[in-house]
């Protein structure tokens, strides 16, 4: 019995730690966003509220599990945030950085608590003092009692309430503790609590995880309805709550106040911890809908097969429909399987979200000004790949800030804007995930790299190396060109580890650089399973998939707007732009009735900054498709990102727009239709 309780506790704690880490990330990004929108009070208010809520749920959860240090720090941070929330004071840089360091401390505390290795807890006293001092500075009003609710007390009048609180039996599994709620009520005013034990079953039937009790609470004090609501705000869905204000004032009520069920000195923090029950996988609703659809189809198939049941003779007709039904079942099952697999993929943004903070801190530390641009955060990556991507990317970002982007004065001298730019882009290309980091810093200094390599004995003193070989040197173990070994980088464990990690997940890393202009690092991560949004297009009798991300628009072709030059791709005048037309049928070697540019549809795509009009016969559905690599059983084919299997079991090839552009350029305007 005790074991089981301990297990439950352990499991709930695990969930709490996971959620705390998420909440901290949320706080962090909120704070960083705050710095950027100093002039928009509405937005500030919104952000502060978000941050406050996140801090609040950490505090609640921590208190529930008796993690006092976490609760303490969260509480102090929350007090400061509350001041920001209620006051007209704008958060300044000092407060933001103070709050950011609280995030760090909290993160360390969460780490420490979850590891449970018995080492000393990270120090928190100084931080709490700083937070308090800042809160005091901010708060025009009096120092508030830690246990008091966040609403100002001035407008509150004395009132009496009768509260009926009947938790559903499984409320405890969502991490809510009735006792804590009651305790909180007692902090609001004088209470009389009557327990209702009528639901209590016999001792044999009692399940530890179920809540059988209900309570009727009489509460008297300077309390607003809103305050009571707030106490119960986490358990709204898990309990029956009825709050009535008692109009008549009983003089006896004061006398009853002594019968508190618990000593308020036990000092419970404000609110009960909130947690959604159980699991720790977060799945988009869209994916769940997809899964649901497939289950729906499975049910239909089942009913088709079900009709075959019966005593009738097994004739050819029944056999045929049995066969059809089974084929359908096979297809449904496969689709279902793929759909379930797709639950494993997560947006890469979950990894990228740590970089704004990293860049913020590092650039300060290094005395540089850096703007970070992220794009493609929604690109989906298999969870296993994602987990191994964080560290290499962090290395690369650090490297770029440390070695790449120059100090403001150097940049000014070189005629560049003082603020450097680091862009991180993630996208699908050719069935791979590509993550590109590009900075406009100094680029790789080949002379310095070679000198360093010679110094380290990585190459012989008299060796002559090509630029390519020199670039390759930075991936050598033990190589680092940082002049001073800082805690940012320079310990020589950088690029070789990055490359090894990327290779370990079957990826590639490439680096290109123009000295004085910047460096671009490209990570290619192969994906056995990636799901893309695709536009199905018909060419001849075949269906192809164009990744939706690359499509700008689709237009019906108008002959008058086409201009053709010998030996060049025909051009289409699209508003003020000239867009080269590529006949997909021609590039793909498919015979189609519409090769004449007189009819058909033009799907305008963008690749590498240039536009291209793909001539197709028809537009079909837009849908998510599972990318199947052609390499698995065959080999890479130029112009194709892979293949997918459509609902009817047929195969559609997924186009790699970039590759198509290359193919079209190499064929330059020849509209020759090759036989398939």
């Amino acid at each position: 019995m005790t074991n089981r309780l301990a297990d439950i506790q352990q499991e709930l704690m695990g969930t709490f730690f996971e959620e705390a880490v998420e909440a901290l990330t949320q706080i962090e990004s909120g704070l960083l966003a705050l710095e950027k929108c100093q002039d928009d009070p509405g937005r500030i208010h919104e952000l502060v509220n978000d941050v406050f809520r996140a801090a609040h749920s950490i505090k609640g959860g921590a208190a529930t599990f008796g993690l006092t240090q976490i609760a303490e720090v969260a509480h102090h941070a929350e007090t400061l945030l509350d001041r920001l929330r209620s006051g007209s004071m704008k958060p300044n840089a000092q407060i933001t950085s103070l709050l950011l360091s609280s995030v760090d401390t909290l993160r360390a505390l969460v780490q420490w608590s979850s590891s449970g290795d018995g080492s000393d807890a990270p120090a928190t006293d100084a931080l709490c003092k700083d937070l308090d001092a800042a809160a005091q500075q901010l708060g025009a009003g009096s120092e508030r009692d830690t246990a008091a609710a966040s609403k100002p007390a001035s407008e509150v009048r004395k009132a009496r309430y009768q509260i009926k609180f009947v938790p559903k039996p499984d409320m405890l599994t969502t991490g809510n503790d009735a006792v804590r709620l009651l305790r909180e009520l007692t902090l609001l005013g004088d209470t009389k609590v009557i327990a209702d034990t009528s639901r209590l079953p016999g001792l044999r039937e009692v399940e530890l995880t179920k809540c059988y009790l209900g309570w009727t609470i009489e509460l008297e004090g300077a309390v607003t309805r809103a305050q009571i609501d707030e106490v119960f705000s986490w358990v709204d869905d898990d309990a029956e709550i009825k709050i009535d204000e008692l109009v008549e004032r009983s003089s006896a009520a004061a006398a009853q106040s002594g019968e508190r069920p618990h000593d308020p000195a036990a000092r419970a923090p404000e609110h009960a911890g909130d947690r959604d029950g159980g699991g720790s996988i977060r799945v988009s609703v869209g994916k769940l809908d997809m899964l649901m659809n497939m289950v729906g189809e499975l049910v239909i198939t089942q009913s088709i097969l079900g009709e075959l049941e019966g005593d009738g003779p097994i004739d050819v007709k029944r056999l045929a429909s049995l066969r059809d039904g089974l084929a359908l079942l096979a297809r449904n099952t496969r689709a279902l399987q793929e759909s379930v697999m797709s639950l494993r993929s997560m947006p890469i943004g979950t990894v990228l979200s740590r970089f704004p903070r990293l860049v913020h801190d590092l650039s300060r530390q290094l005395g540089k000004q850096v703007e970070l641009k992220l794009s493609g955060q929604t690109t989906e990556v298999d969870k296993t790949v994602l987990e191994k991507l964080g560290d290499p990317l962090t290395h690369l970002v650090r490297n770029s800030l440390d070695h790449g982007i120059e100090k403001p004065e150097v940049r000014r001298a070189r005629g560049k804007p003082e603020t450097g730019t680091l862009s991180i882009r993630a996208f699908h290309r050719g069935g791979d995930i590509v993550v590109e980091l590009e900075d406009d810093g100094g680029g790789l200094d080949l002379v310095k790299i070679l000198a360093r390599a010679k110094e380290r004995g990585l190459v012989g003193q008299d060796d002559v190396l090509s630029d390519e070989q020199i670039r390759e040197l930075i991936f050598a173990p033990g190589f680092s060109t940082a002049e001073v070994v800082s805690d940012v980088s320079g310990r020589g464990v950088g690029m070789d580890v990055v490359r090894r990690n990327i290779k370990a997940i079957g990826g590639q890393i490439q680096m290109s650089s123009v000295q004085g202009q910047g460096t671009r690092t490209t990570l290619r991560l192969p994906l056995t399973l990636a799901i893309i949004d695709g536009q199905l297009v018909g060419v001849g009798s075949y269906t192809y998939v164009v990744p939706l991300l690359s499509i700008l628009e689709s237009v019906e072709i108008n002959r008058a707007r086409v201009s053709q030059f010998e030996g060049k791709l025909p051009l289409y005048r699209l508003r003020d732009d000239l867009v080269p037309i590529v006949s997909l049928g021609g590039v793909l070697g498919v015979t189609t009735g519409r090769m004449s540019l007189d009819s058909g549809l033009l799907v305008v795509v963008e690749t590498d900054g240039e536009r291209l009009g793909l001539l197709v016969d028809e537009l079909q559905a837009q849908q998510q498709v599972v990318v199947k690599s052609l390499e698995t059983n065959y080999e890479h084919v130029e112009g194709l990102a892979g293949a997918t299997i459509l609902g009817d079991g047929s195969i559609a090839l997924i186009l790699d727009v970039q590759g198509i552009a290359r193919l079209a350029r190499s064929a330059q305007g020849s509209s020759v239709v090759r036989a398939a």
């Binding site: 059809d324 084929a327 096979a330 070697g589 052609l630 194709l640 293949a643 195969i651």
Partner: protein, 158 residues
């Protein structure tokens, strides 16, 4: 429909000294392949053509969710083309290529038989320089009719 015409050949036994071959016919000649490499035999279904590939790669087909390329053995061997018809079959083979197992289909005219061949009876193929068959055939065995036997290297070379 996928299920049509596919026959699982798992569980076939081989005697240690014998090699069991699945034989099939291409342009009137009998060819064989190690039966353990055969995943299944399928009836003809139209493949999705892949652009910019050798002429004998006819495209890809869907085999229970796997995208599998199929090659026409006639065209690979430089034999005259034949209309695909009711007896045309696709032999789906598992092959080792480049360190990992791949699945690919080979289009043949018709299936023939399963034959036990003593390993000793497999003779090395005559060597001709630059001949495709040289790299495709593992050996030749004399049955009632002459039959060339293909080994594991076949599809890798295709």
């Amino acid at each position: 429909m996928e299920q049509q015409g596919s026959t699982k050949l798992d569980g076939t036994k081989t005697a240690s000294a014998n090699e069991q071959l699945l034989t099939f016919i291409v342009d009137g000649e009998e060819y064989g392949v190690d039966i353990l490499r055969v995943q299944e035999i399928r009836s003809w279904s139209n493949p999705m053509p892949i652009p910019n590939t050798p002429h004998y790669i006819k495209g890809v087909i869907n085999i229970r969710g796997d995208v599998v390329a199929i090659a026409d053995l006639r065209e690979r061997l430089g034999l005259p083309k034949l209309e695909y018809g009711a007896t045309t079959v696709i032999v789906v083979l598992r092959v080792n290529a480049g360190g990992h197992e791949r699945v690919m289909g080979v289009i043949v005219d018709a299936m023939s038989d399963v034959t036990n061949v003593p390993q000793a009876a497999i003779k090395p193929p005559p060597t001709f320089k630059n001949s495709a068959e040289g790299s495709l055939a593992k050996g030749i065995v004399t049955l009632e009719a002459a039959a060339a036997e293909f080994g594991g290297r076949v599809p890798a070379a295709v």
